[in-house]
Structure formats: C-alpha cells, structure tokens
Amino acid sequence: MDFTDDQLMRYSRHILLPEVGGKGQARIAQAKVFIVGAGGLGCPVGYYLAAAGVGTIALIDNDTVEMSNLQRQIAHSMQTIGMPKVESAKKTFEALNPDVNVVAIQKRISKDNILDLIRDYDIVVDGSDNFPTRYLVNDACFMARKPLVSGAILRFEGQVTTIVPGEGPCYRCLFEEPPPPGLVPSCQEAGVLGVLPGVIGGLQATEVLKLVLGKGEVLKGELLIYNALKTSFRKVKVPKNPFCALCGESPTITELTDYEQGYCSM
C-alpha cells in the first residue's frame, strides 16, 4: 500500500510499532468490521477503529439519539439529538477520519437479516446490551464462521471476550440460556457509570485490531471482567462446553431464532 503524506502522518505512531508497520497498517485499511449497536459500546469501538484507519466500519442500530445517551455514548452530541444513532456516529467518525467508509444501517437486527448483513465483513463486534441480540449475534457468527468480540456493561462492571469460530467456546458455552426477564433490571433501575463503556469498548477495539494484525493473544476461551469500583481486572478461563446447544457435539440449535424482546436495551 502506498500511503499519502497525510496518511503517513496520521498513522505514523502505528507504523513505528514493529508489530504494525506499513504492512500492518495496510491490513487495517483493508479490514471490514461490523458493529452491532451504536450506543455505549459501539461508539468508542467505532471511534477508535475509525481513528486506527479501519477501511470499512458498519454500524447497525434502530434507535435515535436522546439526551440520556450523551452521558456515555461519545459519538453523539447535542447537535444530533433526534437523529438516527447510526447517522450521528457516521458523521462523527467521518469527521475524524475521511479514509474510513462508514456504513450506517438503521434497522433492528433479526434472524432474517443478520447473515446477509455480516456476510461481507471480517470481524463482528457485539455492542448490544440485551440478551436476545447477544445470542442471535453469537449464533449467526458461529454459523457464518466470523470472529466475534463481545462486550457487556452494567452499573460498574463490564465483560469482554473474543470468540473465534472453531477455536474455543462460544457465547452459549459461557452463558447457556438468557436469564429470565425478571432477573434483568428494568430500564429505570439499570444504571451505568458513563466511562465504563469507554473502558470496555476500548478493550473490544484492541481485540479487533489484534485479530486484524494477527499479533498478540486475544481473549479466546477467556472472559475478562472489569470492576470500575474496585479497579480490578479478573480473567476467567472458560472451557468449551461439549454439551453446548450450538457448538457442542450434538447441537440442537441449527437455525437462528429471535428471542422474545422486552429486555432492557442500553
């Protein structure tokens, strides 16, 4: 890849890294990343991937920007309240880096569209905050054999894991079934520290870049748990479940299903 002078300056701090260099930066430029959700997690993930020069970033989200989002969803602003979140984020990312092609998809992701939507992408990032979507994204990535970087946040705690199809566990190995809706806090009671998705989204973006570069170790078979109150990071090894309904030896899930909605979506 021949860099323009602007690109050379923009990406110089990457090119200087032995693990990246010109070749790694060219791989980043060719990468296509699909982000589910343009909220707390999708904003920082997309923002940092745009800054890093990821060539194509798709964002899917059906919501519009509200004042209550601005405490943590850093791609949106007072100027974009009422606008579809994906359009608001696209404006922000393109203003940061014109090299990046941002594909804004204002839709609800479902069993009927997900496989078509992710087909052309290398890596999927889950920044949704509801169990139905997380299972759907996990199942679709397993079927389409796409690496998935999954993140979740609640109150002061966040989790990250990277699922590489055919290598290690899937999201259902970690969490067999969605918790019953009564156990998940309703929207009124589900608080979150605004900076928390910044930490977790930053970790997710880092996982994506390592997958693109083929360098370092990703959180494969491991769940990283961050507690912001304690300032603690804990890594939990998660084995593949041989009885997993999706990736186990005798799977019972062979097609996609949409779970009942009605969970809180943050």
Binding site: M9, I15, G21, G22, K23
Partner: protein
C-alpha cells in the same frame, strides 16, 4: 564498506521526527533481507535516533557519516523482517 553498495536510496531531507524514521522504516519493510538502504538526511537528531531505532528493530547499521555542513548519510542493512 566495500561490497555494501546500497540497494535502495532515500532522501528524507526536510523531514523531522517521527516522519524521518517512518519513511526509513517503510523503505526497509519493502526490501529483502541482506539488502542495504542508504538514507540521506539533514535533521541532526535523526542522525542519532534512526541508527538507534534501526538497531532496536534488529537491523544492522553499517555507517553513519556527516557528509557536509548539513547532511548525514546512513547505511543500514536489513537483517530482520
């Protein structure tokens, strides 16, 4: 350094850090192991920092020479991809 005629030459006069090393590193990446890069520069700090960085990255610095009042010439052999 007979036998070390450069395989490639770059002129990075007028550039300052970090672009001096960025240009040199990109040139190096495009070369084969064992080939020699000649770098012409006029930024004094880079005459010290580029050789150090090249060594840090596993390359062999063959020559650092001030050739006139303003310019330096470096010869670096690519030992590592």
């Amino acid at each position: 350094m007979a036998g070390d005629a450069p395989d490639r030459q770059i002129n990075i006069k007028g550039l300052v850090c970090p672009y001096t090393f960025v240009k040199a590193k990109l040139a190096m990446e495009a070369m084969e192991i064992g080939q020699v890069l000649e770098i012409l520069l006029d930024y004094e700090e880079a005459s010290r920092s580029i050789p150090k960085s090249m060594e840090d990255h596993g390359q062999k610095v063959l020559k650092v020479e001030k050739v006139n009042d303003t310019d330096w010439v470096l010869l670096v052999r690519k030992d590592k991809d």
